[in-house]
């Protein structure tokens, strides 16, 4: 049985407010409540609410034959609770249909899988708890790491935590001649199945849909179904992975993206031999074809599909190192504010804003950053981190004083 697996990433970071060096030691609240709230509200109106509505309609219309998978970051869920309970409820309604899967990820949409195993496990646990609490005891079985970052080693850690499958990018330099349209296995622990993003067809929807200079513009369901039919019969799983904000936010409603999604299931059912599956179903139902070797981490970002959007330049490296140096100290402190800030500071977006790859992917980067330059982003983050370090130190001193 051939199947299409839609997975949508839902994520919004807690953005940091403009924080000057003279605030260090004075002001311990870092988050830009105003812009976080207004961005959540804006995206809710343009994307989350109308698209959730549409998906619910489709799930009902096809009586469960159309299904999708979501991964919602913990920091995003926190913001739904704070600013958009209506959005949270609409996701709860979707999950309650039984035809919507939720994935596991790190609570803070963090890069901790690259820094520290203990922290990684803790972050996954706390996200699990959050999902359980908010979605009626729901337990995710499949894992997706921040930005689809994956390596053999990370896969092994994920397998150890008991997950059945994990998602990542069908990066060309990993696959070579091989196709992403099969289920693969982790090279360390073959029990962990790996689903790979078909970036060609995913990005046709996510990035190129409204691009008038694209030779295939406009994208219609007829065209898309023809492309799907062109996939060789033995290739079984088509993974369409994308940001959920594609619908209505990156691609505005005026582009016809909602109409495209509304009529796609019908076209698939009528003209192809594909069905729709959740990631768990896709991973379970297909026979794994081979182990996949990924010695150095890959991701779904930029042309290089590597980590350079978040780590690699001096700014990112300094911020990342200084942050994770604190891990052991933070664990000794039982203070809700410290724990919250420790989490939120780990969100990958803060490092993304510091990226200096201006030339090739600069346009995409500036679209996602509210800072003028990566240097501004870095200075602001480091000011906040400096204050956080002071707080951690002071707390520890206070604890030691009590012990004595």
């Amino acid at each position: 049985m051939r199947t299409i697996c839609f997975y949508f990433q839902v994520h919004q970071p807690f953005r940091i407010k403009p924080y000057r060096f003279f605030d260090i030691g004075e002001d311990h609240y870092y988050w830009d409540d105003y812009s976080n709230r207004s961005i959540i509200r804006k995206v809710a109106q343009k994307c989350y609410l109308p698209m959730n509505e549409l998906l619910l309609e489709l799930i009902r219309r096809y009586n469960g034959k159309f299904k999708v998978t979501f991964s919602i970051s913990g920091v995003c869920l926190d913001q739904f609770e704070l600013y958009a309970p209506d959005v949270l409820e609409s996701f709860q309604r979707l999950v309650a249909t039984g035809h919507v899967e939720l994935l596991s990820e790190t609570d803070a949409h963090a890069l901790c899988s690259l820094a520290n195993k203990e922290e990684f496990v803790r972050m996954v646990e706390s996200h699990k708890e959050k999902i359980k609490r908010l979605f009626n005891g729901y337990e995710p079985k499949v894992f997706r790491n921040t930005e689809l970052i994956y390596s053999d080693k990370i896969g092994a850690m994920v397998a150890e935590m008991g997950f059945e499958a994990m998602l990542t990018e069908g990066a060309k330099h990993i696959l070579g001649w091989k196709s992403p349209n099969f289920v693969y296995q982790n090279s360390v622990d073959p029990n962990l199945r790996i689903l790979l993003k078909n970036f060609q067809l995913s990005d046709d929807i996510a990035f190129r849909f409204s691009n008038k200079t694209w030779s295939d513009y406009p994208l219609t369901t007829e065209k898309f179904v023809n492309w799907i039919n062109a996939i060789p019969q033995e290739q079984e799983v088509l993974n369409l992975f994308m940001d959920y904000e594609t619908f209505g936010e990156h691609q505005w409603a005026e582009t016809g993206i909602f109409e495209f999604m509304r009529s796609l299931p019908e076209a698939v059912f009528r003209y192809t031999n594909f069905s729709f599956s959740t990631t768990t179903e896709a991973a379970r139902n297909a026979k794994p074809i081979a182990k996949i070797q990924v010695p150095t981490p890959i991701s779904w970002a930029d042309e290089e599909r590597d980590l350079t959007a978040w780590l690699g330049n001096d700014l990112q490296n300094e911020a990342f190192t200084k942050l994770y140096e604190l891990e052991a100290q933070v664990q000794k402190i039982d203070d809700p504010d410290i724990i919250r800030d420790w989490k939120y500071l780990q969100t990958s977006d803060h490092f993304y804003y510091m990226c200096t790859k201006f030339f090739s992917d600069g346009a995409v980067h500036s679209y996602f950053s509210h800072y003028d330059t990566p240097y501004d982003a870095f200075i602001n983050y480091m000011n906040v981190l400096s204050d956080f370090i002071l707080r951690v130190k002071n707390k520890l001193k206070a604890l030691e004083a009590v012990d004595k």
């Binding site: 000057r20 003279f22 001096d314 300094e318 240097y375 870095f378 480091m382």
Partner: protein, 429 residues
């Protein structure tokens, strides 16, 4: 292409940035095999032989030529309607205008002698020299074959217009600074503004040193945006300078280097310094240069009680400038209005991280710099603190600096200019 170029100064005898920019541009154009006839009011004989130099002081004018009379009539009008030279105080202004009004005949006679000894300076007789220069330009345009006319800043615009009057070739007005940069909002009046405006409107094409300047040209002079191209400045030497000079204080040094005048925003630097010193005692601030606001800055520093941490060096030149860049940990250029601003690129050559105002043209081309609004003292202080405390930025600036400078060479600028030349040449009827 044979280009008839009018400047006002040329290295090594210069008093402003205009001469340096002309030198770089001519050097770049020679690299691209362009023929340049470069006219300056006064030649000293030790200029690098890059162009066919013409000394305006040596040109004999044949004033029987009918067209010359017409040109002169226009110029006289300009002079009579103005009476003044920029940068004069009110009293001097009165003296000078009286003199001009009563001595018109003298001016006419000296201007119409066969030869005229230009000073080539920016003195009291500037307008007179500008007029005479235009007459010489007409004579040169008659005797020297050329395809295009290219004039640098308002001093040479009447020359460009006059040359075009004679040869009919396309006239390019290059604008390195407008009167609004020099005089602030009051720039929109007076003879310099009038000459500038006449030149810009008469030009077939305009070259602005930045998008910022292009905007001013369009908005304040009513020029058609389609005839303005942006041609950024560049560095003469893109190499990194390894200096052996070491600072003899343990503290970090943050430097302002430039004229201490309204346009350069020194007061914002002083206010930002106060904010940094309040939080970090291990910093010293240096204000290098002189200018009309120097005394006020000294007073303000004393008033803020940071005299032991904030130092004034007075006017620096030559090696002292280089040494100042070399011992600085941060260089700040908080200009209120800077058409381009080459100094930050010199700082980059010394591996010194820079903070520049968004109100400077150089901010359009320099990527590895922190950019702030000149008035945002908090952001400036924050950037200074960030550069002093978070070392990866300075490290990155150092790593990327030489790469970045290589992109900012005059030969690249000249290549762009050649395409402008060619387009104008082809469009010519």
């Amino acid at each position: 292409m044979k280009v008839l170029m009018f400047g006002w100064e040329f290295p090594p005898h210069i008093s402003g940035g205009l001469g340096t920019a002309c030198y770089g541009l001519v050097k770049g154009l020679v690299h691209h095999k362009q023929d340049i006839i470069f006219v300056v009011p006064k030649l000293w004989g030790d200029e690098e032989p890059l162009a066919d130099f013409v000394n305006a002081s040596d040109v004999v004018i044949d004033y029987r030529e009918r067209k010359f009379k017409k040109i002169w009539k226009n110029l006289t009008y300009l002079e009579v309607s103005s009476f003044l030279v920029p940068y004069l105080g009110p009293e001097e202004f009165k003296k000078y205008t009286d003199y001009t009004l009563h001595d018109r005949t003298d001016v006419d006679e000296s201007v119409f002698s066969n030869k005229f000894e230009f000073s080539g300076k920016y003195g009291k007789d500037l307008i007179k020299e500008v007029s005479r220069y235009a007459l010489v330009a007409a004579q040169i345009a008659k005797s020297k074959d050329h395809d295009l006319i290219h004039a640098h800043d308002w001093l040479a615009y009447p020359a460009g217009i006059a040359a075009k009057e004679i040869s009919g070739k396309p006239f390019i007005a290059h604008i390195h600074a407008t009167q609004f940069d020099r005089a602030g909002e009051g720039g929109g009046q007076g003879p310099v503004y009038e000459i500038e405006k006449a030149g810009l409107l008469a030009a077939d094409h305009i070259l602005a040193v930045s998008h910022l300047t292009k905007k001013v040209v369009i908005e304040k002079y009513g020029v058609d945006p389609n005839k303005v191209s942006v041609l950024h400045n560049a560095v003469l030497d893109a190499s990194i300078i390894q200096s052996s000079v070491r600072k003899n204080v343990p503290e970090k040094i943050v430097t302002f280097l430039g004229r201490i005048t309204f346009q350069k925003g020194p007061e914002y630097f002083v206010e930002a310094a106060k904010k940094v010193i309040d939080r970090d005692p291990n910093v010293r601030f240096v204000m290098a240069g002189s200018g009309d606001l120097l005394n006020r800055m000294v007073e303000r520093v004393a008033e803020l009680g940071m005299g032991t941490k904030f130092h004034f060096t007075g006017f620096l030149k030559g090696k002292d400038v280089d040494d100042m860049y070399a011992i600085s940990d941060v260089y700040v250029m908080p200009s209120v209005s800077e058409p381009f601003g080459i100094a930050p690129l010199e700082a980059v050559r010394h591996n010194t991280p820079v903070i520049i105002s968004k109100q400077s043209g150089v901010a359009e081309v320099l990527r590895n710099a922190i950019k702030i609004d000149f008035w945002d003292v908090d952001a400036m202080a924050d950037a200074i603190f960030g550069l002093l405390h978070y070392h990866s930025i300075s490290k990155m600036f150092k790593e990327l600096g030489s790469e970045e400078l290589k992109k900012l060479k005059w030969e690249h600028v000249a290549a762009k200019l050649v395409t402008v030349y060619e387009k104008l040449h082809q469009e010519q009827p």
